[in-house]
């Protein structure tokens, strides 16, 4: 029988079992790295550095994981904090404005792939909307969980998801169902 995340966390806590922590990393590396790649606008090297930093921080602070939230949610929060600290250092926290969004959108651009357009559209969203969309729509977190990861009020998460979706719909109007 496969051990749950909670079992593995307990092994790390009680026995300092690094193999158990390795299993946790193996289980969650894809989603954490994926989230960070989207947040860093597909800067793969930076995203992987931040993911490593996030897992190391998770290991060092695993005693603060109380099991009230899912382990993945707790990890996303650490990963998001790593990203935010790094972005603050790089002063990249400012998103783009609406005008920029509209002028940059060109559905007839060179690459006709929907996936490519979706990624480009996501990257054009301001950070707060992009983060909320990535967590709720792509990684399946509830609005409550996303609010906890992003450390913002629940209402703000809902607004950001709504606004982000509206913008995505506008930018991808040519691909949507008629």
């Amino acid at each position: 029988m496969e051990l749950t995340d909670a079992d593995l966390v307990a092994r790390v806590l009680v026995d300092d079992d690094q193999h158990a922590f390795g299993e946790l990393v193996r289980r969650h590396q894809s989603s954490v790295r994926g989230l960070l790649r989207q947040l860093t606008r597909t800067d793969v090297a930076l995203a992987d550095d931040l993911a490593q930093q996030a897992f190391l921080r998770a290991y060092k602070n695993i005693r603060s994981f109380r099991g009230e939230a899912r382990f993945s949610t707790w990890l996303y929060r650490i990963a998001y904090n790593c990203f935010r600290e790094d972005a603050r250092r790089r002063k990249e926290l400012v998103g783009i404005d609406e005008e920029q969004l509209q002028t940059q959108h060109d559905p007839q651009a060179a690459d006709p792939g929907l996936r490519h357009d979706l990624m480009r559209a996501l990257n054009l969203l301001p950070l707060n909307e992009r983060s909320a969309i990535l967590l709720c729509c792509q990684n399946g977190l509830s609005h409550d969980e996303a609010a906890s990861v992003l450390d913002i009020p629940l209402g703000t998460v809902k607004t950001n998801v709504l606004r982000g979706r509206e913008k995505l719909k506008r930018m991808l109007a040519d691909w949507g169902p008629n």
């Binding site: 990393v25 590396q29 790649r37 490593q52 005693r63 979706r165 949507g176």
Partner: protein
């Protein structure tokens, strides 16, 4: 199918599985040494210090004469005093053991 469903599906599919590709190994290599080896090192240091302190005390006290002197004094004490001393020592040890056990069980519960 409405636009919401379509967008959600595309967003989910736009996040493919990322192969580990050595990532986990790199993370594990950067972890601090396991607590067990840290504990072992701490035990070795403590035992070494204790041994050195004992040797030093033995030498400084003129071959441990203070031990026999203290024992003689203890033997000369009234029986009630010896009993109180033993009881106090027992209580201190029991309290220390209980404190250690409680903190250990709290750590494993979190």
């Amino acid at each position: 199918m409405n636009q919401e469903d379509w967008l959600d599906r595309e967003l989910r599919e736009a996040a493919p599985y990322i192969d580990d590709d050595g990532f986990t190994v790199r993370v594990l290599q950067q972890l601090p040494a396991p607590r067990r080896s840290r504990d072992l090192l701490r035990a070795v240091i403590l035992l070494g210090m204790t041994f050195l302190a004992s040797v030093l005390a033995y030498v400084v006290s003129g071959g441990g004469r203070f031990v026999s002197v203290s024992l003689e004094r203890l033997a000369a004490l009234p029986a009630l005093w010896v009993f109180v001393l033993a009881l106090a020592s027992g209580l201190v040890m029991a309290a220390a053991g209980a404190t250690a056990a409680i903190s250990r069980s709290r750590a494993s519960l979190t």
